[in-house]
Symmetry: C2
Subunit: 137 residues, 2 copies
């Protein structure tokens, strides 16, 4: 059986922050938005409906945990969740905390403008917050 390995584009665009029961948890390197990506550790899966029933349930549970924590921790106005994958076919689920004052509001963040990498201190703070809040291993 093919084993899971993270798509190189996700590896290069994101910081690894830990693991949940099903998903690898990544922080997109764009300081303008709290933006977490969940990647089920399953090989060859492109769509949510391709997961088996137990994995679908786990993804939903981990997505709700992630989204609810992020909205509280970052005082969001709205959560945006998306599974697109037109460029990176490996199944991955975006969770972006949106604020009415953010650069792309009220439009979507995807395709809006180039990412602005995290400064070192803010990155460390945000990773610590997420690792603790989501109880990541």
């Amino acid at each position: 059986m093919e084993s899971f390995s993270l798509h190189p584009r996700l590896a290069s665009d994101c910081h690894l922050i830990g693991e949940l029961g099903l998903c690898r948890v990544l922080l997109l390197d764009d300081a303008r938005y709290p933006w977490v990506i969940l990647v089920p550790r399953r090989a060859g899966i492109r769509e949510i409906f391709e997961l088996n029933a137990a994995d679908r349930d786990a993804l939903l549970r981990e997505s709700c945990l992630t989204g609810e924590f992020m909205m509280q921790a970052f005082a969001g106005d709205k959560l945006n969740i998306g599974a697109l994958g037109n460029l990176v076919p490996q199944l991955h689920l975006h969770h972006i905390v949106r604020h009415a004052a953010d650069p792309a509001w009220p439009g979507p963040v995807w395709g809006h403008s180039a990412a602005e990498p995290y400064p070192h201190d803010l990155l460390a703070e945000r990773v610590a917050c997420l690792r603790e809040g989501l109880a990541l291993v």
Copy 2:
């Protein structure tokens, strides 16, 4: 208890095609993309994590049913799923079948360009296909 009513923006942008156990099923009036929107018939809900456990499960099940059928019926290259709601806060889940030749590919469809309303015959055909394939009532 507040009762569910469809947000007027969704009502004006979409055609009603039927009901699933939890969700109202809408077809966005843009002939360029097979684009179905599921709206849980629950009042006052903005985020997936605000649904109770049974409704979360039903939304996932109905989303997978919808997405898998659409990908097969419309021979998609990739399914895009999204819960944004920056403009329309009522929880609604987009399902868009993407093709490598579609106008927005590989970018997101949201915010790309103005919708192109369905011609009458194509609308009737697509609604009939979805009503039958999803066993809508």
